[in-house]
């Protein structure tokens, strides 16, 4: 939350000038884009007669109704509690979104028919690839971060070269280098290991910086106390520093994991049967591209939402020992 001032200002959506501007905007937009041939125009048949033939009058009438409804909507929402506002606006946006997709005339039965294979084969592979990759990325990141902070020239050079290289190349390029390039040197990796390797290396490079920042955020006194009790480096790191760095490390790691869930779609390029690959191959075979793409889009989205919940819970868990 921002630190809101105690002097309450009037709700923006209740200011006449603001509502006026919105009203004018909506009206102008609906005059520009003829809305008479939409569901709204159809509903207004009793007033404007045949929507197709209603002309300028029809346009104006539908625009007016839409503008009034819209302004009424935002003014009413302005009265509600924060949580209610959030819920209502979410539902409204989601229904607009669904209405938009509905306009594509999608074949729902086709989606239902293909959903089992999308979920069993595709979703599983996607999660599997992402989870294994984030695990290796974290391990790489710990070593990368320690190397960067070690003060050892070799270690620093290797680690900074690694992060610079793998952050500097497009992920897709790394994937090609591993899957298509390495075989020329006689090293042939399967599609899944190639994908995991590329994702781990790339995200490990990003997360090295996250782990470095986490380790550096710990007060020097913690090192001194550990050292004064005779703890060695490894013990101090494992038991004292990393556990305390977790609250700093976890939120951006969660973000990276979500982003990796989606970037794992890149490995469809090399023929891993994850969500994206199935979406394209199933869609291509039947020319129902949009159905599959939208279905998979929603699966990715739901997956990310779930991950956000998990992340929020973990963050709350770590917030507890900080209570003063």
């Amino acid at each position: 939350m921002l630190y809101i001032d105690t002097v309450e200002s009037e709700v923006l959506v209740h200011k006449p000038w603001f509502v006026g501007i919105i009203f004018a905007l909506v009206l102008a937009l609906s005059l520009m884009f003829n809305l008479t041939d939409t569901t709204l125009g159809e509903l207004m048949r009793p007033v404007i007669g045949d929507p197709q033939a209603s002309g300028l009058y029809g346009r104006f009438a539908t625009g007016l109704v839409l503008a009034v409804l819209f302004c009424l909507n935002i003014v009413l929402i302005g009265f509600a509690q924060f949580k209610v506002q959030v819920a209502v606006v979410w539902v409204e946006l989601l229904s607009l979104f669904l209405a938009f997709f509905n306009a594509f005339d999608l074949s729902l039965p086709f989606i239902w028919e293909k959903l089992p294979i999308l979920l069993s084969q595709g979703l599983f592979t996607t999660i599997y690839v992402a989870a294994v990759s984030i695990f290796f990325a974290c391990i790489l990141a710990v070593f990368g971060a320690v190397a960067k902070l070690s003060g050892n020239g070799f270690a620093f050079a290797i680690s900074s070269f690694y992060t610079s290289f793998f952050r500097g190349l497009p992920l897709l390029m790394q994937l090609y280098l591993i899957y298509l390039g390495l075989p020329q040197l006689g090293i042939v990796l399967d599609a899944v290991p190639s994908g995991v390797l590329a994702l781990s290396l790339c995200y490990g490079a990003y997360m090295t910086e996250i782990f470095r920042a986490g380790i550096q955020s710990i007060d020097r006194g913690q090192w001194e106390a550990s050292r004064s009790m005779g703890f060695g480096f490894g013990l101090t790191m494992r038991k004292i520093i990393l556990p305390q760095a977790l609250p700093v490390i976890i939120p951006p790691t969660g973000n990276n994991f979500i982003s990796m869930l989606k970037d794992s779609s890149l490995v469809s390029i090399v023929g891993v049967w994850e969500l994206m690959f199935l979406a394209r191959s199933l869609g291509q075979a039947t020319f129902k591209h949009m159905e599959m793409l939208i279905a998979v889009a929603f699966i990715y989205w739901i997956l990310s939402v779930c991950m956000e919940f998990v992340q929020a819970r973990i963050e709350r868990h770590y917030a507890r020992s900080k209570i003063r």
């Binding site: 106390a225 004064s228 009790m229 020992s321 003063r324």
Partner: protein
């Protein structure tokens, strides 16, 4: 080597970059002796005692702790650190584990003591600093004075032969100073060898065998507390004492 001396400091000099913090310091602490170190801010008191467990490295001279000379050998340093406890101005408790775990960690992870025995030992020392009832709280839930007493218990749980205190009461609110000083006094009466950097002159009078005054990286004056406070010899000591005793 010497069986009598806990700490021997011979001609020790130390630099931070080009800046000399310690000038040719000599000091011997016998076993069971209680030393108070005082002196103006920046005079090198912390640096000196941090050299005793090699939180800082000295560049010239010798430091010998319990007969072990401090050099660049990790094995010796680890041995010394296990036997020398240190209490910091800002406590430096481990905030992510409970008070009890703070006191069990050292014995369990370093000395290979079993969990049950470590718990017993930790409770013993928490009782000694009179806060056994806080054992299952996290450090942040305790007052400053309580946290510092936990820090003392944590150090004691390693069963050190020497205790170093670096201004243990300077970060505390006035009403909490007494409880911490009492704990340290009890420890002193039990015969623990200790070096304590502090400006609490009442405490120094009551427990110190010797008071050491440092200025600009040198030990300017040392003596028994009676003499030190009533007849300071050096101008610098007189000025310092008049400044801190005025209030």
């Amino acid at each position: 080597m010497s069986g009598e001396n806990a700490i021997e400091v011979k001609n020790v000099s130390k630099w931070f970059g080009g800046f000399q913090v310690l000038h040719d310091v000599n000091l011997t602490v016998r076993k069971g002796e209680r030393i108070v170190v005082c002196g103006p801010s920046g005079s090198g008191k912390s640096t000196l005692i941090r050299c005793f467990n090699r939180l800082e490295a000295h560049q010239k001279g010798d430091i010998i702790i319990n007969g072990i000379s401090l050099h660049n050998r990790m094995r010796d340093i680890a041995e010394v650190r296990r036997n020398v406890g240190m209490v910091f101005q800002h406590f430096n408790l481990f905030p992510h584990i409970t008070v009890l775990m703070n006191c069990m960690a050292g014995p369990m992870w370093i000395k290979g003591v079993s969990k049950e025995e470590a718990r017993e030992r930790a409770m013993h020392y928490l009782e000694k600093v009179r806060i056994p009832e806080q054992a299952n709280k996290y450090p942040a839930q305790l007052s400053g004075g309580q946290q510092q007493r936990v820090a003392i218990a944590r150090s004691l749980s390693m069963q050190p032969t020497v205790m170093l205190f670096d201004e243990p009461t300077s970060a505390l609110d006035p009403e909490m100073v007494a409880e911490v000083l009492e704990t340290i006094t009890t420890l002193a009466h039990e015969g623990m060898t200790m070096v304590c950097v502090t400006h609490e002159m009442g405490f120094a009078r009551a427990v110190a065998d010797r008071v050491i005054f440092m200025d600009a990286g040198r030990i300017v004056e040392e003596g028994r507390p009676e003499d030190f406070f009533s007849n300071p010899r050096h101008e610098r000591t007189k000025l310092f004492l008049s400044q801190i005793l005025r209030h």
